[in-house]
């Protein structure tokens, strides 16, 4: 079963092996830097074209950038608060819900690892 054996990356699908570039030290940092650069670029772009918005705020350079960043952060904070209010254990509704089922019925699916045959 999963995780009980040692990995053999050579047997991973080729695309998976390529994507494991992400695990090299520094790769994630590169992705983050790329994102920051892209962010800077799309804000800079705002200064180089004429805007035809319906509302005043759309005319502000970088409005969508600010709105996206702030609202996303607020959303995450609000969701944390919501979890405190509505969070419950998985068996809260007992046997009348699927949430307490440990696994999907295994006779209907094919649970299989990459090196199973």
């Amino acid at each position: 079963m999963a995780g009980s054996r040692k990995d053999d990356p050579d047997k991973f699908p080729p695309l998976g092996q390529k994507m494991m570039w992400l695990e090299k030290p520094g790769s994630v940092a590169k992705v983050v830097i790329g994102l920051v650069l892209a962010c800077a670029l799309v804000v800079l772009a705002d200064f180089f074209y004429e805007k035809h918005g319906h509302f005043a705020e759309e005319e502000v350079e970088g409005f969508f950038a600010m709105f996206g960043f702030v609202m996303f952060t607020l959303l995450v904070l609000a969701a944390r608060g919501l979890r405190v209010l509505v969070g419950e254990r998985e068996d809260y509704y007992g046997k009348k819900a699927i949430d307490q089922e440990e696994s999907y019925p295994e006779d209907q699916i094919e649970i299989k690892d990459y090196d199973d045959d």
Partner: protein, 566 residues
């Protein structure tokens, strides 16, 4: 008279043929794939018009109203049925195969219904056929979830019928045309559509049931019921202003729940609810372009939502779980599924060059053009929210994030094909929006790819991504933990039963008290009577017979005296 066989009947006939085919082998899956293709070709080539009308007890039933609004929905339903059945190629369960055909057929029949009696029959048809996709999971939890689903869906149909009967009484017509909210009849019909469309507070059946269906069943479920309701609203209530506000609330509240939900298929159900909100706003605005926005968004949404359900379903198929807390790092051994999931995520988040971008911007543009500023701001916020749960959470916590140690095999080939074709369509629509615009209900005069649109949308999405990186790295992002979140369904799954239990206990107590009191009274009376009149009682003492003669003589003597005296 019927001049054309209604498209829905093709699906019902296929369901009958399917029963005659051997359970093993490829004939059944082939039939499941061929049916929607034939139906789509049939509808596409039959031209627009009103076919298949019949008289029924003096009512004019219309089985085939094919205009540009119904056609785009029929086409995407056929496409969804094809992709869903391809994804379910491995399923050998007759119940699910038949249910899939009857369900798709009913949904298509409902869209083509020109009158509300026909609509009602197909409306209930979708409810009854689809519940088997939930029950097919075969667990006790799925059974009860299916019952809850069925009660609500059938209830929606009953309310629809009540509304139609009143409408017929008021107007003398059963034609399904645009209505104005006002009378009880129209409110009932509106409520019935609202239940199926998962309006706020009427929405919980969606998040309750879709995660409980089978791996393939959820993919099929995600396409039809709610989009049928969107179609019905667009047909019956376009331009109804209250829909703008209902839709806005619909885009907002699910994003908070989706953020903290652990079961990824339920995250997608919340996300589905949020996407319906955008469509409902478009219907509320009601201009030709807004309705185009709704129809095109429904089309694109069915595809990318199916794609996301397919990718999470493939993970469930290989690991047995769809809980974010148990997953992570699967991209190593399921790279294709991960890639397709990312395409779905980019499409629903409306990245430029993906399908969501060219359809959602139609609706936002119309909201802004009609100067609903707060609504527009809410929709932009909701768009960032979509990125959060469907764009980031689904792919990131399944395939990346912390390594769960799970190394599942890649999804089966037919699932990869289904996902691959769907992913291709998501990109194709994004790159060539005119192909989709060409089949919309009204002529489209809109250019999604302006510098302003693209830059604005990229700013929103990239900075939201940046915010995610910040909150994730700083540990502010809510961790994935094994728990559920109570939603409004708590009221009828927990609170109402508890109240009923308390009330029942109280009533039983009072009833018991009164009963005991009365029984005691009766018993006491009987005891007293027994004591006085019973065998040992004073009134039953054994007096000599002479005593009676004596008393009669006394009585007669008294009568004599009274007579003499009188």
């Amino acid at each position: 008279m019927i001049s054309v066989i209604p498209t829905a009947f093709l699906f019902f006939a296929a369901a009958l043929v399917l029963l005659a085919l051997p359970k093993k082998g490829i004939l059944r899956p082939l039939l499941l794939l061929a049916t929607p293709i034939i139906a789509a070709a049939w509808v596409w080539n039959s031209g627009l018009g009103n076919f298949a009308q019949i008289e029924f007890f003096g009512l004019e039933l219309e089985f085939m109203r094919l205009d540009r609004l119904s056609r785009v929905f029929v086409m995407v339903f056929c496409l969804a049925a094809f992709l869903g059945n391809l994804y379910a190629w491995h399923v050998r369960d007759t119940v699910q195969q038949v249910a899939a055909l009857l369900y798709a057929g009913s949904a298509i029949g409902a869209v083509l219904a020109g009158d509300m009696i026909t609509l009602f029959f197909y409306w209930e048809g979708t409810a009854i056929a689809s519940v088997f996709l939930i029950w097919a999971r075969g667990t006790e939890g799925a059974y009860w979830t299916g019952m809850r689903y069925l009660i609500i869906q059938i209830g929606s149909g009953v309310i629809l019928l009540a509304g139609v009967v009143l409408w017929y009484h008021d107007t003398g017509s059963i034609a399904f045309e645009r209505m104005t909210l006002g009378s009880l009849a129209t409110w009932l019909i509106f409520l019935s559509f609202g239940i199926k469309c998962a309006f706020p507070l009427l929405h919980n059946w969606l998040q309750d049931s879709y995660p409980a269906a089978t791996v393939t069943g959820t993919v099929i479920l995600s396409a039809f019921t709610t989009k049928l309701a969107v179609y019905a609203l667009a047909r019956g209530f376009a331009g109804t202003e209250i829909l703008i506000y209902i839709g806005t609330v619909m885009t907002l509240f699910p994003i908070f729940f989706a953020e903290i939900e652990n079961d990824l298929r339920r995250v997608l159900a919340y996300s589905l609810n949020n996407q319906l909100g955008f469509m409902v706003v478009g219907i509320g605005i009601g201009t030709e372009m807004a309705l185009n926005g709704t129809a095109s968004h429904a089309f694109a949404h069915i595809l990318y939502k199916a794609l996301l359900f397919m990718s999470v379903g493939a993970v469930l198929f290989r690991t047995g779980t769809s809980k974010a807390s148990e997953l992570g790092g699967l991209y190593r051994t399921m790279p294709l599924t991960a890639t397709f999931c990312l395409v779905g995520a980019a499409s629903i988040s409306a990245f430029p060059l993906f399908s969501g971008f060219v359809t959602k911007s139609l609706i936002l543009d119309q909201a802004a053009g009609a100067h609903y500023e707060l609504v527009w701001l809410a929709l932009v916020f909701a768009s960032a929210g979509v990125l959060s749960h469907s764009g980031i959470k689904i792919p990131f916590f399944t395939f990346f994030a912390h390594d769960s140690g799970k190394r599942p095999a890649e999804a089966p080939t037919h699932m990869l094909w289904a996902m691959g074709i769907t992913a291709f369509l998501c990109i194709f629509i994004g790159v060539f929006p005119d192909t989709l615009y060409a089949i919309l209900p009204y002529d489209v005069d809109y250019a999604p790819y302006t510098v302003g649109h693209v830059v604005g949308q990229l700013q929103l999405l990239l900075f939201a991504l940046l915010a995610f990186v910040v909150v994730y790295r700083t540990g502010i992002h809510p961790p994935e933990v094994r728990q559920i979140n109570l939603d409004f369904d708590w009221t009828y799954r927990k609170a109402a039963p508890s109240v009923i239990r308390v009330v029942a206990a109280f009533v039983a107590h009072v009833y018991g008290g009164i009963l005991t009191f009365l029984t005691n009274r009766v018993n006491n009376t009987m005891n007293r009577l027994y004591r006085s009149h019973g065998p040992e009682g004073r009134m039953a003492r054994n007096w000599p017979t002479g005593a009676m003669v004596l008393s009669i003589a006394l009585l007669l003597g008294a009568t004599l005296l009274v007579n003499f005296a009188g």
